[in-house]
């Protein structure tokens, strides 16, 4: 099928894009990478009457470190994260994640902002941003505001952004000494959505975990933190048995739906395993960074 009829707008500035959204209201959708929206439109499952193409807002495409934060412009393509030496060296969790989003063709166009704003539970960045404790900057007609990641995802395809707001920037706190992170995703085939995936970011002091955040992908209606697993490990000396307990806690906290990727039991157990392995990898990287 081809998409239903729509009007196309290509604003040259953020202000113009915002005013278009105000004007067109409900009947407008933002088009960035388009790799979630356009397939839906081609199947005529989504039929927005207006597309507001923001690919012209090239000012929103950047990766830079400043004032203790890594700032990523919303329009940054996933492939840019893969190619950034800064990300590869200092943000391994983010590097891991960017590599496993769909396939290279998609990654050339898909944007970090779009991945978060679309809020598909199967998307990879939400879990990673939860693990990082990121902040999301959005702009609306009333001005700019910052949303903490823990308050950003509110339900299936829902975020706390208003319909007339545009996501402009993602900020990740610079990792301190002794920190490490990893993203582990199990998929049926390359480029698929996760059957289950875990994002872990932690800091170690010797063998003690001083802080940890764990995000889970595609095992709940909206992305969640495995807070019970975090509690098991925070302030504790880490060993294999304790990590197993944390994995089980993450599994118990998950709420997967059965579908073509697996049954509830299978996804739950897979969550236990990916959480364990992601924690182990993060610890290894943290210890490597400290030495």
């Amino acid at each position: 099928m081809i998409p239903a009829q729509f009007d196309y707008h290509s604003p040259g500035s953020l202000e113009e894009a915002l005013s278009l959204l105000e004007q067109l209201g409900d009947e407008a959708k933002i088009l960035a990478g388009g790799h979630s929206l356009i397939p839906a439109m081609r199947f005529r499952l989504a039929m927005p009457e207006n597309l507001v193409d923001i690919n012209g807002l090239t000012d929103l495409d950047y990766i830079r470190e400043a004032d203790g934060w890594l700032a990523i412009g919303a329009l940054t393509r996933e492939s840019a994260l893969e190619e950034s030496q800064l990300v590869q060296d200092r943000y391994p969790l983010l590097a891991d994640t960017a590599e496993v989003i769909a396939d290279p063709l998609v990654r050339n166009l898909a944007t970090v902002g779009g991945n978060l704003a679309h809020a598909d539970p199967a998307n990879d960045h939400p879990a990673t941003m939860l693990a990082y404790g990121a902040e999301i900057a959005v702009q609306g007609p009333g001005g700019a505001r910052t949303i903490l990641i823990d308050e950003f995802f509110t339900g299936l395809f829902e975020t706390s952004m208003a319909a007339n707001e545009i996501l402009t920037e993602i900020r990740i706190p610079e990792p301190g000494a002794g920190s490490g992170g990893a993203y582990l995703k199990v998929e049926r085939k390359v480029g698929d959505y996760a059957i289950s995936a875990a994002a872990v970011q932690l800091t170690m002091d010797g063998d003690t975990c001083t802080g940890i955040r764990i995000g889970l992908t595609n095992v709940s209606p909206s992305p969640i933190r495995a807070t019970e697993a975090e509690k098991v490990l925070t302030g504790q000396v880490l060993n294999e048995e304790l990590i197993e307990v944390a994995g089980q806690a993450a599994s118990d906290q998950s709420d997967p739906s059965p579908d073509l990727r697996g049954s509830v039991e299978y996804k739950r157990d897979l969550t236990r395993v990916v959480t364990k392995r992601a924690i182990a990898k993060a610890v290894e990287r943290a210890k490597g960074a400290a030495s």
């Binding site: 959708k29 199967a122 339900g155």
Partner: protein, 210 residues
Amino acid sequence: MKVAGSYTFEAPQKTVWEALQNPTVLSSVLPGCDRLEEVGENQFEGELNIKVGPVQGKFKGRVEMCDLNEPNSFTLKIDGQGSTGFVKATAKVELEGTGESTVMNYDSDAQVGGRIASVGQRLLDSSAKAIVQQSLQGMHELTKVVSQSGTEGGEASAAVAEAAVDFEAPTQAEFAAKVAKEVAKDVVPRPLVIGGLIIVVLIALYLLLF
């Protein structure tokens, strides 16, 4: 697929039953309910316009109520169609009241086919659960209002109807289903639709979403 669960209302069983029978309540709490008509004995036809994330669509559903056992249980037979697929389902709804609270148990078996079943398979289950939850939460708020106002029995029915007119479902951002702003005014005098249309909404979801 199976959609089953329980929901606890903080209202006596009679009030919950009355709410389940009232089409005005239904159109207040169901997302995108555009139309509701009686087309035969215990048979109803409704139209829903639902939006979830970027996906939006219209759905037409016919619901038949049977095995009525007031105020305890009933069965629904659902036949739904939209441009994106079809669904056939049977749902059993049971109420167990203890004093000031009532547990509603629902258990349905659905067959979904067409485009939505193939393209949207991975989201059918979570979408269905989310919309059922949203509808039940809306109904819960409404029945709480009624039961806190202290009316009982026959008065409950009138109280429910009155509460429903001004009622706006809580905007639980479970997902972007748009709640119909206008209460369906020309509705069937005959009750017994709410439970059915909760399921209809659920089916609409199946038909419309990834």
